[in-house]
């Protein structure tokens, strides 16, 4: 691969990093806290790519007299690997994968480990409390859900699969990037037909005890489709 082609590959990848860093697309892949790092990295990579293109153009007659060609013997095999650097760029800008969802939640036997022993105050009385699925599940584990009893709550998540008399609602928890996504699930009891898998819904209802394997149950009074939140994952 010539210096110029390498500079193109690097420049494209830098542009992809910048593109992700300035939009919520980034949150499909990594945590929001990574944004500044990706922004800085993207800027540096773009500058490097541009400079390298200019440098390759300036020294065109001796384009391959780069220091690394002194190690040409050692690099001949590895240098071809640089072609693979195109793949992340293609994956983001051509394929454009969606956030992980029902497929990942449905295949795992592992669930996210929930923090235990947390002490919760009571939910505000008289109104519907909007909780994350993680908080709902943790509260359900706390003294058999005493802070949830008789309190209407609303949860936002995606549908994993229909169950008899309802469906399985989940949110994925990531600690670093989508590669370590693990689901937290709630069994929703609803009379209406279950929404399709991967559909995002807001479910309002009340806590109705635990199914086996610490799976909290919610009896729904309303199930509304909602757009996917800007950050699809919980933490």
């Amino acid at each position: 691969m010539s210096n110029r082609a390498q500079a193109f590959v690097v420049l494209l990848f830098g542009l992809v990093l910048l593109r992700l860093a300035v939009s919520d697309l980034l949150l499909r892949f990594v945590r929001a806290g990574t944004r500044p790092l990706v922004l800085v990295a993207g800027t540096l990579v773009v500058l490097l790519g541009i400079w390298s293109l200019v440098a390759a153009g300036r020294g065109d007659d001796r384009a391959d007299a780069r220091p690394s060609s002194s190690d040409a013997h050692g690099h001949s095999g590895a240098s071809r690997l640089a072609w693979l650097a195109v793949l992340p760029t293609v994956a983001v800008s051509v394929v454009g994968p969606p956030a992980l969802g029902a497929f990942t939640a449905g295949r795992g036997t592992r669930s996210a480990t929930l923090p235990t022993g947390q002490v919760f105050g009571p939910l505000v009385e008289g109104s519907t409390a909007r909780l994350s699925i993680v908080e709902f599940a943790v509260r359900a584990l706390d003294h058999d859900g005493r802070t949830l009893v008789h309190r209407p709550v609303s949860l936002t998540g995606f549908v994993v699969k229909p169950l008899s008399g309802g469906f399985l609602l989940a949110r994925l928890v990531i600690t670093c990037c989508a590669a370590d996504a693990l689901p937290v699930e709630v069994q929703v009891m609803a009379t209406a037909t279950a929404p399709a898998a991967n559909e995002w819904v807001r479910v309002t209802g009340t806590y109705a005890g635990q199914a086996p394997h610490n799976l909290p149950v919610l009896t729904a009074t309303s199930v509304r489709p909602v757009p996917m939140p800007s950050d699809p994952y919980d933490r």
Binding site: Q6, D61, P67, L84, P88, V90, T104, C176
Partner: protein
């Protein structure tokens, strides 16, 4: 290649042409095979693959930036001047010098080869080769991020990796020898120093990214295709779990700056098995073996890789048993 002269380049296929062709084919494939890209497993694979690349990118950038600065600013004999004459003494010092070179294992192979060319004994040079990708600050910071509230993982990684580097270096003084390296074509340190540094950095970055892609693709495949319970089935088996994670590290070949995140995702495995993954990964994996064969020759690599694997697993198990 751009190395072809201007007269013939009009007729030969340049790598820029190939690059454009690849991009064209990928766009066409996206448009034609719509249903393929919408399969849930393909979508999940792509998301995980991209996620690993994006997560690792800042570390890759930092590693390349620092090693470029070192290459430009540190004088050529900067390393050799500080090494003692006695090889047995030089091994641990060269190993600790690896701390100064943050970067992927891909970057340390050429550096250690150039150390050997400047007359450094093979033992210290190999200690440097094994230590540099494993115990540099960038990797240790990444490890502490991947294992929040568990500083003992960082300490154990440092200890086990340093032990591996030094022990293999010492053993190499006994059983190995200086590999015969191909003659070096010197590009000559001319005026455009920063231009060359920049082109080298681009080269290193593209190559490291390519190697990272191999690891990310492997990890994404494992994430999507291997049944969830399959790897976990050996998770509780003690010794077998350590061996399985060590072999997994060799096959999956994640860059050392990102491997802590992969290791951390194997939550069912013991800390020692996760440690084995992080200690083996930077010192022996498929891409590294390929580079060693390319640089030192097949005979040297055929000795070095198994020896390193054995020592790495042993020291990970020992340190894990002691610290974790």
């Amino acid at each position: 290649m751009a190395g072809t002269s201007a007269a013939t380049s009009a007729r030969t296929l340049t790598s820029t042409d190939v690059l454009c062709g690849l991009l064209f084919i990928s766009v066409a494939a996206r448009l034609v095979l719509t249903s393929f890209w919408q399969r849930p497993d393909v979508e999940a694979w792509t998301t995980v693959f991209v996620a690993i690349c994006i997560q690792a990118a800042p570390y890759l950038v930092l590693g390349i930036a620092v090693s470029t600065l070192v290459a430009v600013a540190v004088p050529r004999r900067g390393f050799t001047r500080f090494l003692p004459r006695r090889p047995a003494l030089a091994v641990p010092i060269a190993g600790l010098a690896g701390v100064a070179l943050p970067g992927c294992e891909c970057g340390s192979v050429p550096v250690s080869a150039s150390l050997m060319r400047r007359g450094v004994d093979a033992g210290p040079a190999i200690a440097f080769l094994l230590a540099a990708p494993a115990i540099n600050p960038v990797v240790l910071v990444a490890t502490s991020i991947a294992f929040p509230n568990r500083p003992e993982m960082v300490a154990a990684r440092f200890l086990a990796s340093a032990t591996t580097a030094v022990v293999v270096g010492w053993l190499w003084l006994r059983v190995g020898r200086v590999p015969r390296l191909p003659a070096r074509f010197d590009a000559g340190a001319d005026t455009r120093r920063w231009d060359r540094a920049c082109v080298t950095a681009t080269h290193d970055f593209a190559q490291s990214l390519g190697l990272l892609v191999v690891g990310a693709a492997g990890a994404a495949t494992v994430n999507v295709a291997v049944p969830a319970g399959w790897l976990d089935s050996v998770a509780d088996t003690g010794v077998l779990a350590v061996a399985a994670m060590a072999m997994f590290a060799v096959v999956v070949a994640v860059c050392s700056e990102a491997d802590a995140f992969v290791a951390a995702s194997f939550i069912r495995f013991s800390s020692t098995a996760q440690l084995a993954f992080m200690v083996v990964g930077p010192v022996v994996d498929l891409k590294l073996i390929a580079m060693q064969i390319g640089t030192f020759g097949a005979r040297t690599a055929a000795r070095l890789a198994p020896l390193t694997l054995l020592v790495a697993v042993a020291s990970a198990a020992g340190v894990g048993w002691w610290v974790l």
